[in-house]
Amino acid sequence: MAGRVIVITSGKGGVGKTTTSANIGSALAKNGHSVVLIDTDIGLRNLDLLLGLENRIVYTLVDVVEERCKLKQALVKDKRNPNLCLLAAAQTRDKSSVSAEQLKKITEKLKKDFDYILVDCPAGIEQGFQTAIAGASEAIVVTTPEMSAVRDADRIIGLLEAADGIESYKLLINRVRPNMIKSNDMMSVDDVVNILSCQPIGVIPEDTGIITSTNRGEPIINNEKSLAGKAFMNVARRINGEEVPFLDIDEPKDIIGKLKKFLSGLKKKGKE
């Protein structure tokens, strides 16, 4: 069975594309699938940092494209999970080093050996974006409940619709703060879904644990206490279509409900 190529994109920077890629990739691998992560943010690579694999990179995507090494040599195995591999971006080059056709060739090759190929897309809509979506047949659009991020996501969805290869796209709403939604200071998940008229695949609550996990190079899904980690695990399951059916928004709501309960519980404890 050929693997699925999923591009993780957003348009706006800083909404959590790389974090999402690292966590969903790790979660899928944890569930027993073989996964390869491709960092296409050439010149501004971060994915290796989040996975804690910075020191293991020998060959990069550009080396593969320029045929200085074989594809398998460039794949860095994750230190925690042997199912997960990383194809890192070159830090010393820029986005023009890899063309859309070249990346498409690489994803076609990887499809044969892996269940999932996740492509971490750079911010923006220029060549880097066009390259990243070239080989993909599915897309996850990451956004936050802010107007600027939602507008950019709208633009990206428009471009994805116009693109040839993309068959389906899903929305992932990141950095949601339930207590801010409650006090009407933040757009709710429903609002974002309504504005973009796009099915959500997951809702990730804001979690300070993400910062520590990024700094340590450990994906947050490995932290079982973290709500964001659980949310990412659910997204991975949903992508696989196993646990929760696609298009289901109820479970993320439950997570928010749990989060609210948890927060109100903390408040009560504080008062006592």
Partner: protein
Amino acid sequence: METILEDNMYVVDLGSVDTASEVIFELSSILDNNEVRNRKIYLKLGSVDLNQAQLLSIKSLISGIESSLSCIDTKSVETEKVALSLGIIVANVSSENVIEVTPEMPYKTAEELKETLKEEDNLPVLSKDKEDESFDIIEEPEELSDDVLKRQETENIETSNSDTEEQQIIQAEDKEIQSAEKEEEKTTEEIKEEINGFSSDKKDEVRDELDVIFGSNPAKSSIFEMAVPEEVYEEREALDDIVVPEQEYTKEDIELETFPTKYIKQTIRSGQVINYEGNIVIIGDCHPGSEIKAFGDITVWGILSGIAHAGAGGNMKARVRALKMNAIQLRIANCYSRRPDSLNTVFVEKTNSFTPEEARIINNEIVVFKIND
């Protein structure tokens, strides 16, 4: 500065010149040209004030080169008066064909237009609040009047006059509104007669109640006159006055009807542009950042939040329709307007009930109408 028109007409445009001496100087330099000989001169002046002597000297300057001053165009009232006194034809071309594009103009709603018209023409247009109040009043008097009539009934029985009164009242209730109106009037008049027969205490009581119900002059006004206040009709007439000049059937209408139509069934997202030399129908929302440009009408079956430009070829009768008008900018032909600040919400919530809206040009301004009926 000058252009030649047909029929031996020669236009001299001095609209930008501010003083009388400069006008004469500029004119004499133009008249030195051989082209201007033996022609009808059409002189365009700006807001400069010219007196009789100055105009006469201009006239003699022109006749000096065997041309004639056929007509002048001026913005100054003073010059116009003097010119008319000298028998010179004054044209008012400046008011035609000049459409001022005001990018700062937010588009108006029909209510705002009504308000401005009201200010300008003192039309007896009711404000919304008044309208509501007047309708509030209606229901109360009907209920109250029944009570009063019943009370009258019982009192009539006491005065052994019951049979005819009762029958009349029952008849009045059974018949249709128009006939009932007359009946009611009758009854009120008869009630008034009855009151005269009562003892002075009761008379006052009933009269007070009638005053409350029918206003200070119960004999004149009936319930049904109250039910449909005249001002509401006038308001509708006022609205019709706005619409009627727009409904003349012209070339532009024919153009709109013969345009081809593009039918699009998808959401138009940020950055997407749709250009078509015809009408456009979109089934779906138009998100902020999108642009739709049509030579004819634009119809959006959804929320219109992007930029819409109808009549891009110059058709002033083109219209923009949407289930919810939230467009950042509306453009029709060469008019354009931005979204009013009062509508600057972050996003439009999707509800099950939208009132469709339509934008069109009225007096060179884009006005958004709600389509209620």
